[in-house]
Symmetry: C2
Subunit: 306 residues, 2 copies
Protein backbone atom coordinates (compact mmCIF):
# COMPACT_ATOMS: atom_id res chain seq x y z
CA UNK A 1 0.00 0.00 0.00
CA UNK A 2 1.00 3.57 -0.54
CA UNK A 3 0.28 6.53 1.74
CA UNK A 4 0.15 9.92 -0.01
CA UNK A 5 0.65 12.28 2.88
CA UNK A 6 1.18 15.75 1.46
CA UNK A 7 -0.09 18.24 4.03
CA UNK A 8 -1.68 21.63 3.49
CA UNK A 9 0.81 24.48 3.34
CA UNK A 10 -0.36 26.43 6.35
CA UNK A 11 1.43 29.60 5.26
CA UNK A 12 -1.07 30.20 2.45
CA UNK A 13 -3.47 32.81 3.76
CA UNK A 14 -6.16 31.67 1.33
CA UNK A 15 -6.78 28.02 2.06
CA UNK A 16 -7.95 27.27 -1.48
CA UNK A 17 -4.33 27.63 -2.62
CA UNK A 18 -3.34 24.90 -0.17
CA UNK A 19 -6.17 22.72 -1.42
CA UNK A 20 -5.10 23.32 -5.00
CA UNK A 21 -1.58 22.13 -4.37
CA UNK A 22 -2.66 18.95 -2.53
CA UNK A 23 -5.81 17.91 -4.34
CA UNK A 24 -3.90 16.02 -7.02
CA UNK A 25 -3.04 13.24 -4.55
CA UNK A 26 -6.74 12.49 -4.18
CA UNK A 27 -7.74 13.05 -7.80
CA UNK A 28 -4.82 11.23 -9.45
CA UNK A 29 -3.43 9.07 -6.62
CA UNK A 30 -4.84 5.83 -8.02
CA UNK A 31 -3.55 6.65 -11.50
CA UNK A 32 -0.09 7.46 -10.16
CA UNK A 33 0.07 4.17 -8.26
CA UNK A 34 -1.22 1.99 -11.11
CA UNK A 35 2.18 1.23 -12.71
CA UNK A 36 3.55 -0.07 -9.40
CA UNK A 37 2.88 -3.24 -7.45
CA UNK A 38 0.40 -1.53 -5.13
CA UNK A 39 -2.75 -3.04 -3.62
CA UNK A 40 -4.34 0.17 -2.41
CA UNK A 41 -3.70 3.88 -1.97
CA UNK A 42 -4.35 5.77 1.24
CA UNK A 43 -4.40 9.56 1.05
CA UNK A 44 -4.15 12.19 3.70
CA UNK A 45 -7.40 14.16 3.93
CA UNK A 46 -7.37 17.57 2.29
CA UNK A 47 -7.87 19.71 5.34
CA UNK A 48 -6.15 22.35 7.43
CA UNK A 49 -7.51 20.83 10.60
CA UNK A 50 -6.05 18.04 12.64
CA UNK A 51 -9.19 15.97 13.09
CA UNK A 52 -10.43 12.37 13.06
CA UNK A 53 -12.69 12.73 10.00
CA UNK A 54 -11.91 11.51 6.50
CA UNK A 55 -12.40 14.32 3.98
CA UNK A 56 -13.32 12.64 0.73
CA UNK A 57 -14.04 13.70 -2.85
CA UNK A 58 -13.69 12.85 -6.48
CA UNK A 59 -10.98 10.49 -7.67
CA UNK A 60 -10.15 9.50 -11.24
CA UNK A 61 -9.26 6.30 -12.99
CA UNK A 62 -8.30 5.74 -16.59
CA UNK A 63 -9.71 2.88 -18.62
CA UNK A 64 -6.25 1.70 -19.60
CA UNK A 65 -4.94 1.21 -16.07
CA UNK A 66 -5.47 -1.17 -13.17
CA UNK A 67 -8.11 0.35 -10.90
CA UNK A 68 -6.54 0.38 -7.47
CA UNK A 69 -8.75 1.09 -4.43
CA UNK A 70 -8.09 4.53 -2.93
CA UNK A 71 -9.35 5.96 0.34
CA UNK A 72 -8.88 9.09 2.42
CA UNK A 73 -7.98 8.83 6.08
CA UNK A 74 -8.17 11.70 8.55
CA UNK A 75 -5.20 14.03 8.91
CA UNK A 76 -4.68 12.64 12.42
CA UNK A 77 -4.64 9.07 11.08
CA UNK A 78 -2.26 10.01 8.27
CA UNK A 79 0.12 11.55 10.80
CA UNK A 80 -0.14 8.43 12.97
CA UNK A 81 0.55 6.07 10.04
CA UNK A 82 3.52 8.15 9.01
CA UNK A 83 4.85 8.24 12.57
CA UNK A 84 4.51 4.50 13.13
CA UNK A 85 6.12 3.81 9.77
CA UNK A 86 9.05 6.03 10.73
CA UNK A 87 9.73 4.05 13.89
CA UNK A 88 8.51 0.52 13.00
CA UNK A 89 9.07 0.34 9.24
CA UNK A 90 6.52 -1.49 7.06
CA UNK A 91 3.09 -1.65 8.66
CA UNK A 92 0.15 -3.99 8.25
CA UNK A 93 -3.10 -2.08 7.61
CA UNK A 94 -6.61 -3.46 7.33
CA UNK A 95 -8.29 -1.82 4.37
CA UNK A 96 -11.99 -2.28 3.72
CA UNK A 97 -14.06 -0.14 1.39
CA UNK A 98 -17.82 -0.52 1.07
CA UNK A 99 -18.46 2.23 -1.44
CA UNK A 100 -19.82 1.51 -4.89
CA UNK A 101 -20.97 3.42 -7.93
CA UNK A 102 -24.72 3.04 -8.29
CA UNK A 103 -26.57 3.34 -11.60
CA UNK A 104 -27.44 6.87 -12.66
CA UNK A 105 -30.81 8.27 -11.59
CA UNK A 106 -32.73 11.05 -13.28
CA UNK A 107 -32.00 14.36 -11.61
CA UNK A 108 -32.54 18.04 -12.42
CA UNK A 109 -31.31 21.57 -12.03
CA UNK A 110 -33.70 23.82 -10.09
CA UNK A 111 -34.23 27.29 -11.50
CA UNK A 112 -36.04 30.46 -10.42
CA UNK A 113 -35.97 33.71 -12.32
CA UNK A 114 -37.32 37.23 -12.48
CA UNK A 115 -37.61 38.87 -15.89
CA UNK A 116 -35.61 41.93 -16.81
CA UNK A 117 -37.48 45.01 -17.95
CA UNK A 118 -34.84 46.21 -20.41
CA UNK A 119 -32.95 43.18 -21.71
CA UNK A 120 -35.22 40.27 -20.88
CA UNK A 121 -33.33 37.96 -23.25
CA UNK A 122 -30.03 38.73 -21.56
CA UNK A 123 -29.43 36.77 -18.40
CA UNK A 124 -27.48 37.17 -15.20
CA UNK A 125 -27.25 33.73 -13.63
CA UNK A 126 -26.29 33.13 -10.02
CA UNK A 127 -26.17 29.87 -8.17
CA UNK A 128 -24.39 27.01 -6.59
CA UNK A 129 -24.78 23.27 -6.61
CA UNK A 130 -27.66 21.27 -5.26
CA UNK A 131 -25.80 18.01 -4.80
CA UNK A 132 -23.20 17.35 -2.13
CA UNK A 133 -20.53 14.82 -1.36
CA UNK A 134 -21.84 11.92 0.70
CA UNK A 135 -20.13 12.75 4.00
CA UNK A 136 -22.03 15.26 6.13
CA UNK A 137 -24.94 17.22 4.74
CA UNK A 138 -23.15 19.52 2.32
CA UNK A 139 -24.27 22.44 4.46
CA UNK A 140 -21.36 24.68 3.41
CA UNK A 141 -20.68 22.77 0.18
CA UNK A 142 -22.91 23.89 -1.26
CA UNK A 143 -26.10 24.41 0.71
CA UNK A 144 -24.77 27.81 1.70
CA UNK A 145 -24.08 28.75 -1.92
CA UNK A 146 -27.55 27.96 -3.20
CA UNK A 147 -29.12 29.72 -0.22
CA UNK A 148 -26.93 32.78 -0.83
CA UNK A 149 -28.39 33.08 -4.31
CA UNK A 150 -31.96 32.13 -3.47
CA UNK A 151 -31.94 34.70 -0.67
CA UNK A 152 -30.33 37.31 -2.94
CA UNK A 153 -33.23 36.89 -5.34
CA UNK A 154 -35.68 37.32 -2.45
CA UNK A 155 -33.84 40.43 -1.26
CA UNK A 156 -33.95 42.04 -4.70
CA UNK A 157 -37.69 41.35 -5.01
CA UNK A 158 -38.36 42.43 -1.43
CA UNK A 159 -36.80 45.87 -1.96
CA UNK A 160 -38.75 46.25 -5.18
CA UNK A 161 -35.72 46.30 -7.44
CA UNK A 162 -36.63 46.22 -11.15
CA UNK A 163 -33.73 44.46 -12.86
CA UNK A 164 -32.69 45.47 -16.37
CA UNK A 165 -31.63 41.92 -17.16
CA UNK A 166 -33.34 38.66 -16.38
CA UNK A 167 -31.97 37.45 -13.05
CA UNK A 168 -31.85 33.70 -12.78
CA UNK A 169 -31.08 31.65 -9.71
CA UNK A 170 -29.82 28.15 -10.53
CA UNK A 171 -29.26 25.16 -8.28
CA UNK A 172 -26.98 23.08 -10.49
CA UNK A 173 -27.00 19.33 -9.93
CA UNK A 174 -24.08 16.87 -10.05
CA UNK A 175 -21.27 19.37 -9.54
CA UNK A 176 -19.36 16.93 -7.38
CA UNK A 177 -19.44 14.00 -9.70
CA UNK A 178 -19.52 14.89 -13.38
CA UNK A 179 -21.01 18.41 -13.60
CA UNK A 180 -23.78 17.12 -15.82
CA UNK A 181 -26.16 19.78 -14.50
CA UNK A 182 -23.82 22.55 -15.56
CA UNK A 183 -23.19 21.00 -18.96
CA UNK A 184 -26.91 20.44 -19.63
CA UNK A 185 -27.71 23.98 -18.50
CA UNK A 186 -25.16 25.44 -20.92
CA UNK A 187 -26.37 23.17 -23.71
CA UNK A 188 -30.01 24.21 -23.28
CA UNK A 189 -28.99 27.83 -22.92
CA UNK A 190 -27.30 27.70 -26.30
CA UNK A 191 -30.23 25.87 -27.87
CA UNK A 192 -32.56 28.60 -26.64
CA UNK A 193 -30.30 31.40 -27.92
CA UNK A 194 -29.89 32.81 -24.45
CA UNK A 195 -27.13 35.30 -23.79
CA UNK A 196 -25.48 35.18 -20.39
CA UNK A 197 -24.14 38.62 -19.58
CA UNK A 198 -22.66 37.26 -16.38
CA UNK A 199 -22.77 34.23 -14.12
CA UNK A 200 -22.01 34.25 -10.41
CA UNK A 201 -21.15 31.14 -8.47
CA UNK A 202 -21.08 30.75 -4.71
CA UNK A 203 -19.25 27.55 -3.84
CA UNK A 204 -16.74 28.53 -1.19
CA UNK A 205 -18.88 28.14 1.91
CA UNK A 206 -21.20 30.23 4.03
CA UNK A 207 -18.55 32.23 5.89
CA UNK A 208 -18.23 36.01 6.32
CA UNK A 209 -18.02 37.46 2.80
CA UNK A 210 -14.91 39.49 2.03
CA UNK A 211 -15.34 40.33 -1.63
CA UNK A 212 -15.57 38.96 -5.13
CA UNK A 213 -13.37 37.47 -7.81
CA UNK A 214 -14.43 38.35 -11.35
CA UNK A 215 -13.44 38.68 -14.98
CA UNK A 216 -11.60 41.79 -16.09
CA UNK A 217 -14.37 43.76 -17.84
CA UNK A 218 -16.64 43.57 -14.84
CA UNK A 219 -13.76 44.07 -12.43
CA UNK A 220 -12.88 47.44 -13.95
CA UNK A 221 -16.49 48.56 -13.46
CA UNK A 222 -16.85 47.09 -9.99
CA UNK A 223 -13.78 48.98 -8.76
CA UNK A 224 -15.88 52.15 -8.98
CA UNK A 225 -18.02 50.70 -6.19
CA UNK A 226 -15.12 49.70 -3.96
CA UNK A 227 -15.46 52.60 -1.52
CA UNK A 228 -19.18 51.89 -1.20
CA UNK A 229 -18.46 48.24 -0.43
CA UNK A 230 -15.84 48.98 2.20
CA UNK A 231 -18.17 49.67 5.18
CA UNK A 232 -19.82 46.32 4.51
CA UNK A 233 -16.51 44.47 4.61
CA UNK A 234 -16.88 43.17 1.04
CA UNK A 235 -14.45 45.40 -0.82
CA UNK A 236 -11.82 42.80 -1.71
CA UNK A 237 -12.11 42.68 -5.50
CA UNK A 238 -9.76 40.44 -7.44
CA UNK A 239 -9.31 39.04 -10.91
CA UNK A 240 -10.69 35.52 -11.29
CA UNK A 241 -14.18 34.24 -10.89
CA UNK A 242 -14.36 30.89 -12.62
CA UNK A 243 -16.29 28.01 -11.13
CA UNK A 244 -17.18 24.44 -12.04
CA UNK A 245 -20.85 25.20 -12.72
CA UNK A 246 -20.41 28.45 -14.64
CA UNK A 247 -17.29 27.52 -16.61
CA UNK A 248 -19.27 25.98 -19.51
CA UNK A 249 -21.08 29.30 -20.08
CA UNK A 250 -17.75 31.04 -20.59
CA UNK A 251 -16.69 28.40 -23.10
CA UNK A 252 -19.78 29.23 -25.16
CA UNK A 253 -19.37 32.97 -24.92
CA UNK A 254 -16.06 34.48 -23.98
CA UNK A 255 -17.78 37.79 -23.14
CA UNK A 256 -19.77 36.25 -20.31
CA UNK A 257 -18.37 37.72 -17.11
CA UNK A 258 -17.80 35.09 -14.43
CA UNK A 259 -17.97 36.05 -10.78
CA UNK A 260 -17.32 34.19 -7.55
CA UNK A 261 -18.37 35.23 -4.08
CA UNK A 262 -15.25 35.15 -1.91
CA UNK A 263 -15.98 34.40 1.73
CA UNK A 264 -13.35 34.12 4.43
CA UNK A 265 -11.67 30.77 3.71
CA UNK A 266 -10.07 29.88 7.03
CA UNK A 267 -12.63 27.32 8.20
CA UNK A 268 -13.73 25.93 4.83
CA UNK A 269 -11.44 22.90 4.76
CA UNK A 270 -12.19 22.07 8.37
CA UNK A 271 -15.55 20.77 7.16
CA UNK A 272 -15.06 20.23 3.41
CA UNK A 273 -16.38 16.81 2.30
CA UNK A 274 -16.41 15.59 5.87
CA UNK A 275 -19.12 14.56 8.30
CA UNK A 276 -18.73 17.93 10.00
CA UNK A 277 -20.20 19.79 7.01
CA UNK A 278 -23.55 20.09 8.73
CA UNK A 279 -26.17 22.79 9.29
CA UNK A 280 -24.98 23.42 12.86
CA UNK A 281 -21.61 24.54 11.53
CA UNK A 282 -23.08 27.27 9.37
CA UNK A 283 -23.30 30.57 11.20
CA UNK A 284 -26.58 32.39 10.59
CA UNK A 285 -25.13 35.89 10.43
CA UNK A 286 -22.22 34.90 8.24
CA UNK A 287 -24.64 33.17 5.87
CA UNK A 288 -26.96 36.17 5.74
CA UNK A 289 -24.09 38.55 5.02
CA UNK A 290 -23.07 36.31 2.13
CA UNK A 291 -26.56 36.46 0.67
CA UNK A 292 -26.61 40.24 0.97
CA UNK A 293 -23.21 40.38 -0.73
CA UNK A 294 -24.52 38.32 -3.65
CA UNK A 295 -27.48 40.70 -3.98
CA UNK A 296 -25.04 43.62 -4.09
CA UNK A 297 -22.96 41.93 -6.79
CA UNK A 298 -26.02 41.20 -8.90
CA UNK A 299 -27.10 44.84 -8.61
CA UNK A 300 -23.68 46.05 -9.79
CA UNK A 301 -23.66 43.61 -12.70
CA UNK A 302 -27.19 44.56 -13.69
CA UNK A 303 -26.33 48.26 -13.66
CA UNK A 304 -22.90 48.11 -15.25
CA UNK A 305 -23.21 45.56 -18.04
CA UNK A 306 -25.53 45.62 -21.03
CA UNK B 1 -40.68 42.53 37.40
CA UNK B 2 -39.39 44.28 34.35
CA UNK B 3 -38.09 42.69 31.16
CA UNK B 4 -35.61 44.81 29.23
CA UNK B 5 -35.76 43.23 25.81
CA UNK B 6 -33.85 45.46 23.42
CA UNK B 7 -32.48 43.25 20.67
CA UNK B 8 -29.27 43.60 18.70
CA UNK B 9 -29.68 45.67 15.55
CA UNK B 10 -28.81 43.02 13.01
CA UNK B 11 -28.14 45.57 10.27
CA UNK B 12 -24.91 46.71 11.93
CA UNK B 13 -22.14 44.95 10.03
CA UNK B 14 -19.81 45.30 13.00
CA UNK B 15 -21.46 43.54 15.89
CA UNK B 16 -19.71 45.68 18.49
CA UNK B 17 -21.94 48.59 17.45
CA UNK B 18 -25.00 46.47 18.25
CA UNK B 19 -23.49 45.55 21.59
CA UNK B 20 -22.76 49.18 22.32
CA UNK B 21 -26.34 50.24 21.78
CA UNK B 22 -27.82 47.44 23.93
CA UNK B 23 -25.29 47.05 26.71
CA UNK B 24 -26.83 49.85 28.77
CA UNK B 25 -29.79 47.62 29.65
CA UNK B 26 -27.44 45.21 31.40
CA UNK B 27 -25.11 47.81 32.92
CA UNK B 28 -27.75 50.29 34.12
CA UNK B 29 -30.96 48.20 34.15
CA UNK B 30 -31.07 47.88 37.93
CA UNK B 31 -30.42 51.60 38.35
CA UNK B 32 -33.15 52.52 35.87
CA UNK B 33 -35.67 50.30 37.65
CA UNK B 34 -34.81 51.47 41.19
CA UNK B 35 -37.28 54.42 41.32
CA UNK B 36 -40.19 52.11 40.41
CA UNK B 37 -42.02 49.46 42.37
CA UNK B 38 -40.02 46.62 40.80
CA UNK B 39 -38.91 43.40 42.48
CA UNK B 40 -36.41 42.29 39.86
CA UNK B 41 -35.10 43.07 36.40
CA UNK B 42 -34.72 40.52 33.64
CA UNK B 43 -32.63 41.49 30.66
CA UNK B 44 -32.37 40.02 27.21
CA UNK B 45 -28.90 38.57 26.64
CA UNK B 46 -26.57 40.72 24.57
CA UNK B 47 -26.14 38.41 21.61
CA UNK B 48 -26.81 38.19 17.90
CA UNK B 49 -27.67 34.55 18.22
CA UNK B 50 -30.98 33.00 19.09
CA UNK B 51 -29.80 30.52 21.68
CA UNK B 52 -30.68 29.10 25.08
CA UNK B 53 -27.67 30.49 26.95
CA UNK B 54 -27.67 33.49 29.24
CA UNK B 55 -24.95 35.96 28.24
CA UNK B 56 -23.98 37.78 31.40
CA UNK B 57 -21.61 40.56 32.40
CA UNK B 58 -21.05 43.56 34.58
CA UNK B 59 -23.99 45.43 36.09
CA UNK B 60 -23.89 48.57 38.22
CA UNK B 61 -25.65 49.78 41.32
CA UNK B 62 -25.42 53.11 43.06
CA UNK B 63 -25.12 53.40 46.83
CA UNK B 64 -28.08 55.76 47.03
CA UNK B 65 -30.61 53.43 45.39
CA UNK B 66 -32.45 50.23 46.20
CA UNK B 67 -30.39 47.33 44.87
CA UNK B 68 -32.79 45.33 42.76
CA UNK B 69 -31.78 41.83 41.57
CA UNK B 70 -31.02 41.71 37.86
CA UNK B 71 -30.44 38.67 35.67
CA UNK B 72 -29.87 37.92 32.00
CA UNK B 73 -31.99 35.31 30.24
CA UNK B 74 -31.21 33.83 26.85
CA UNK B 75 -32.42 35.61 23.73
CA UNK B 76 -34.79 32.68 23.11
CA UNK B 77 -36.21 33.00 26.64
CA UNK B 78 -36.60 36.77 26.28
CA UNK B 79 -38.51 36.27 23.03
CA UNK B 80 -40.71 33.66 24.72
CA UNK B 81 -41.44 35.90 27.73
CA UNK B 82 -42.30 38.77 25.42
CA UNK B 83 -44.53 36.57 23.29
CA UNK B 84 -46.44 35.10 26.22
CA UNK B 85 -46.87 38.54 27.73
CA UNK B 86 -48.30 39.79 24.44
CA UNK B 87 -51.00 37.12 24.41
CA UNK B 88 -51.59 36.43 28.12
CA UNK B 89 -50.78 39.76 29.76
CA UNK B 90 -48.99 39.82 33.14
CA UNK B 91 -46.99 36.66 33.78
CA UNK B 92 -45.78 34.94 36.91
CA UNK B 93 -42.05 34.20 36.80
CA UNK B 94 -39.95 32.27 39.30
CA UNK B 95 -36.74 34.19 39.86
CA UNK B 96 -33.88 32.67 41.83
CA UNK B 97 -30.34 33.98 41.86
CA UNK B 98 -27.51 32.19 43.61
CA UNK B 99 -24.68 34.53 42.72
CA UNK B 100 -22.79 36.49 45.34
CA UNK B 101 -19.84 38.83 45.57
CA UNK B 102 -16.99 37.08 47.34
CA UNK B 103 -14.22 38.89 49.22
CA UNK B 104 -11.33 40.12 47.10
CA UNK B 105 -8.35 37.81 46.64
CA UNK B 106 -4.82 38.81 45.78
CA UNK B 107 -4.22 38.57 42.08
CA UNK B 108 -1.60 39.76 39.59
CA UNK B 109 -0.85 40.88 36.08
CA UNK B 110 1.51 38.54 34.21
CA UNK B 111 4.22 40.21 32.18
CA UNK B 112 6.92 39.09 29.71
CA UNK B 113 9.22 41.43 27.87
CA UNK B 114 12.17 41.66 25.54
CA UNK B 115 14.46 44.69 25.81
CA UNK B 116 14.80 47.18 23.00
CA UNK B 117 18.28 47.83 21.65
CA UNK B 118 17.72 51.49 20.83
CA UNK B 119 15.13 52.88 23.25
CA UNK B 120 15.07 50.35 26.06
CA UNK B 121 13.23 52.75 28.38
CA UNK B 122 10.47 53.27 25.83
CA UNK B 123 7.88 50.53 25.81
CA UNK B 124 5.45 49.01 23.35
CA UNK B 125 2.92 47.06 25.39
CA UNK B 126 0.60 44.44 23.95
CA UNK B 127 -1.85 42.25 25.73
CA UNK B 128 -5.29 41.22 26.76
CA UNK B 129 -6.92 40.20 29.98
CA UNK B 130 -6.21 37.14 32.01
CA UNK B 131 -9.53 37.01 33.84
CA UNK B 132 -12.82 36.02 32.28
CA UNK B 133 -16.50 36.21 33.08
CA UNK B 134 -17.71 33.18 35.01
CA UNK B 135 -19.76 31.55 32.25
CA UNK B 136 -17.72 29.36 29.90
CA UNK B 137 -13.95 29.43 29.92
CA UNK B 138 -13.30 32.86 28.48
CA UNK B 139 -11.65 31.18 25.52
CA UNK B 140 -12.35 34.06 23.14
CA UNK B 141 -12.76 36.66 25.90
CA UNK B 142 -9.94 36.94 26.42
CA UNK B 143 -7.88 33.76 26.23
CA UNK B 144 -7.49 34.41 22.51
CA UNK B 145 -6.26 37.95 23.13
CA UNK B 146 -3.52 37.03 25.56
CA UNK B 147 -2.42 34.14 23.33
CA UNK B 148 -2.30 36.49 20.32
CA UNK B 149 0.20 38.66 22.16
CA UNK B 150 2.18 35.89 23.80
CA UNK B 151 2.54 34.16 20.43
CA UNK B 152 3.43 37.46 18.73
CA UNK B 153 6.31 37.84 21.18
CA UNK B 154 7.43 34.28 20.40
CA UNK B 155 7.22 34.96 16.64
CA UNK B 156 9.35 38.10 16.91
CA UNK B 157 11.99 36.26 18.93
CA UNK B 158 11.83 33.19 16.67
CA UNK B 159 12.60 35.23 13.54
CA UNK B 160 15.44 36.95 15.38
CA UNK B 161 13.89 40.39 15.27
CA UNK B 162 15.86 42.94 17.31
CA UNK B 163 13.30 45.47 18.51
CA UNK B 164 14.25 49.13 18.86
CA UNK B 165 11.84 49.54 21.80
CA UNK B 166 11.19 47.25 24.72
CA UNK B 167 8.33 44.96 23.72
CA UNK B 168 6.19 43.96 26.64
CA UNK B 169 3.42 41.36 26.69
CA UNK B 170 0.92 41.90 29.48
CA UNK B 171 -1.88 39.67 30.73
CA UNK B 172 -3.96 42.21 32.64
CA UNK B 173 -6.10 40.90 35.48
CA UNK B 174 -9.61 41.96 36.53
CA UNK B 175 -10.68 43.57 33.26
CA UNK B 176 -14.20 42.25 33.63
CA UNK B 177 -14.85 43.47 37.09
CA UNK B 178 -13.03 46.64 38.04
CA UNK B 179 -9.94 46.84 35.79
CA UNK B 180 -7.70 46.92 38.81
CA UNK B 181 -4.93 45.19 36.86
CA UNK B 182 -4.91 47.93 34.24
CA UNK B 183 -5.02 50.69 36.83
CA UNK B 184 -2.21 49.18 38.88
CA UNK B 185 -0.12 48.63 35.75
CA UNK B 186 -0.49 52.28 34.73
CA UNK B 187 0.23 53.43 38.29
CA UNK B 188 3.46 51.41 38.51
CA UNK B 189 4.46 52.47 35.03
CA UNK B 190 4.24 56.11 36.06
CA UNK B 191 6.11 55.46 39.30
CA UNK B 192 8.92 53.84 37.31
CA UNK B 193 9.07 56.71 34.80
CA UNK B 194 8.29 54.37 31.94
CA UNK B 195 7.21 55.85 28.63
CA UNK B 196 4.67 53.87 26.62
CA UNK B 197 5.14 54.68 22.96
CA UNK B 198 2.16 52.53 22.12
CA UNK B 199 -0.13 49.92 23.63
CA UNK B 200 -2.00 47.25 21.69
CA UNK B 201 -4.99 45.41 23.06
CA UNK B 202 -6.57 42.27 21.67
CA UNK B 203 -9.96 41.80 23.29
CA UNK B 204 -12.33 41.15 20.41
CA UNK B 205 -11.96 37.39 20.08
CA UNK B 206 -9.80 34.92 18.23
CA UNK B 207 -11.46 35.21 14.83
CA UNK B 208 -9.88 35.88 11.42
CA UNK B 209 -8.05 39.20 11.73
CA UNK B 210 -9.13 41.92 9.32
CA UNK B 211 -7.07 44.89 10.42
CA UNK B 212 -6.40 47.34 13.19
CA UNK B 213 -7.94 50.37 14.84
CA UNK B 214 -5.43 52.93 16.08
CA UNK B 215 -4.75 56.50 17.08
CA UNK B 216 -4.17 59.09 14.38
CA UNK B 217 -0.39 59.53 14.52
CA UNK B 218 0.24 55.83 14.13
CA UNK B 219 -2.59 55.46 11.62
CA UNK B 220 -0.98 57.94 9.24
CA UNK B 221 2.24 55.91 9.36
CA UNK B 222 0.54 52.52 9.12
CA UNK B 223 -1.29 53.55 5.95
CA UNK B 224 2.07 53.35 4.17
CA UNK B 225 2.00 49.61 4.87
CA UNK B 226 -1.56 49.05 3.67
CA UNK B 227 -0.63 47.53 0.32
CA UNK B 228 1.78 45.15 2.05
CA UNK B 229 -0.95 44.08 4.47
CA UNK B 230 -3.54 43.44 1.76
CA UNK B 231 -2.39 39.94 0.68
CA UNK B 232 -2.63 38.86 4.31
CA UNK B 233 -6.20 40.10 4.64
CA UNK B 234 -5.34 42.53 7.43
CA UNK B 235 -5.41 45.85 5.57
CA UNK B 236 -8.51 47.36 7.19
CA UNK B 237 -7.02 50.29 9.09
CA UNK B 238 -9.33 52.61 10.99
CA UNK B 239 -9.20 55.39 13.52
CA UNK B 240 -9.83 54.20 17.06
CA UNK B 241 -7.95 51.76 19.17
CA UNK B 242 -8.93 52.33 22.77
CA UNK B 243 -9.47 49.46 25.14
CA UNK B 244 -10.32 48.91 28.78
CA UNK B 245 -6.84 47.74 29.75
CA UNK B 246 -4.80 50.27 27.80
CA UNK B 247 -7.01 53.32 28.33
CA UNK B 248 -5.28 54.32 31.60
CA UNK B 249 -1.93 54.60 29.77
CA UNK B 250 -3.43 57.14 27.41
CA UNK B 251 -4.75 59.16 30.33
CA UNK B 252 -1.21 59.42 31.64
CA UNK B 253 0.36 60.30 28.34
CA UNK B 254 -1.75 61.60 25.50
CA UNK B 255 1.00 60.76 23.02
CA UNK B 256 0.77 57.03 23.69
CA UNK B 257 -0.68 55.46 20.56
CA UNK B 258 -3.42 52.96 21.32
CA UNK B 259 -4.07 50.09 18.94
CA UNK B 260 -6.69 47.34 18.81
CA UNK B 261 -6.53 44.17 16.77
CA UNK B 262 -9.75 44.02 14.76
CA UNK B 263 -10.86 40.46 13.99
CA UNK B 264 -14.01 39.55 12.11
CA UNK B 265 -16.80 40.28 14.59
CA UNK B 266 -19.69 38.17 13.27
CA UNK B 267 -19.45 35.30 15.77
CA UNK B 268 -18.14 37.17 18.79
CA UNK B 269 -21.46 37.75 20.51
CA UNK B 270 -22.60 34.19 19.84
CA UNK B 271 -20.24 33.15 22.62
CA UNK B 272 -19.59 36.35 24.57
CA UNK B 273 -19.97 35.83 28.35
CA UNK B 274 -21.84 32.59 27.76
CA UNK B 275 -21.12 28.94 28.47
CA UNK B 276 -20.25 28.52 24.79
CA UNK B 277 -17.08 30.62 25.12
CA UNK B 278 -14.93 27.52 25.28
CA UNK B 279 -11.69 26.30 23.73
CA UNK B 280 -13.51 24.12 21.18
CA UNK B 281 -15.10 27.24 19.69
CA UNK B 282 -11.77 28.87 18.93
CA UNK B 283 -10.50 27.99 15.47
CA UNK B 284 -6.79 27.19 15.40
CA UNK B 285 -6.02 28.85 12.08
CA UNK B 286 -8.05 31.95 12.87
CA UNK B 287 -6.23 32.26 16.21
CA UNK B 288 -2.82 31.83 14.60
CA UNK B 289 -3.55 34.45 11.96
CA UNK B 290 -4.51 36.86 14.74
CA UNK B 291 -1.20 36.28 16.50
CA UNK B 292 0.71 36.86 13.26
CA UNK B 293 -1.27 40.06 12.72
CA UNK B 294 -0.29 41.32 16.18
CA UNK B 295 3.36 40.58 15.42
CA UNK B 296 3.03 42.61 12.21
CA UNK B 297 1.48 45.53 14.08
CA UNK B 298 4.22 45.51 16.70
CA UNK B 299 6.85 45.52 13.95
CA UNK B 300 5.24 48.55 12.28
CA UNK B 301 4.96 50.40 15.59
CA UNK B 302 8.55 49.59 16.50
CA UNK B 303 9.81 50.85 13.14
CA UNK B 304 7.62 53.92 12.78
CA UNK B 305 7.52 55.48 16.24
CA UNK B 306 10.39 56.75 18.34
Amino acid sequence: MVLLNRAFEEENIKTFFSYGSCVTQRVYGAIWAAPYDVKAVIIRSLSNSCDMNPHTGVTYYEDSITKIPIAAVSTAAADALSYFYSIEGPLSVNFELKCETLPDRLSANVIAETKGNEFSNRIIAMGGHFDSWDEGEGAHDDGAGIMHCFEALRILKKIGYQPRHTIRCVFWINEENGMRGALKYAELSELNNEIHVAALESDRGGFTPRGFAMDSVLLSRAKNYQDLLRPYGISELELGGGGVDIGPLKKQNKNTQLVALVPDSQRYFDVHHAETDVFENVNKRELELGAAAVAVAIYIIDQELD
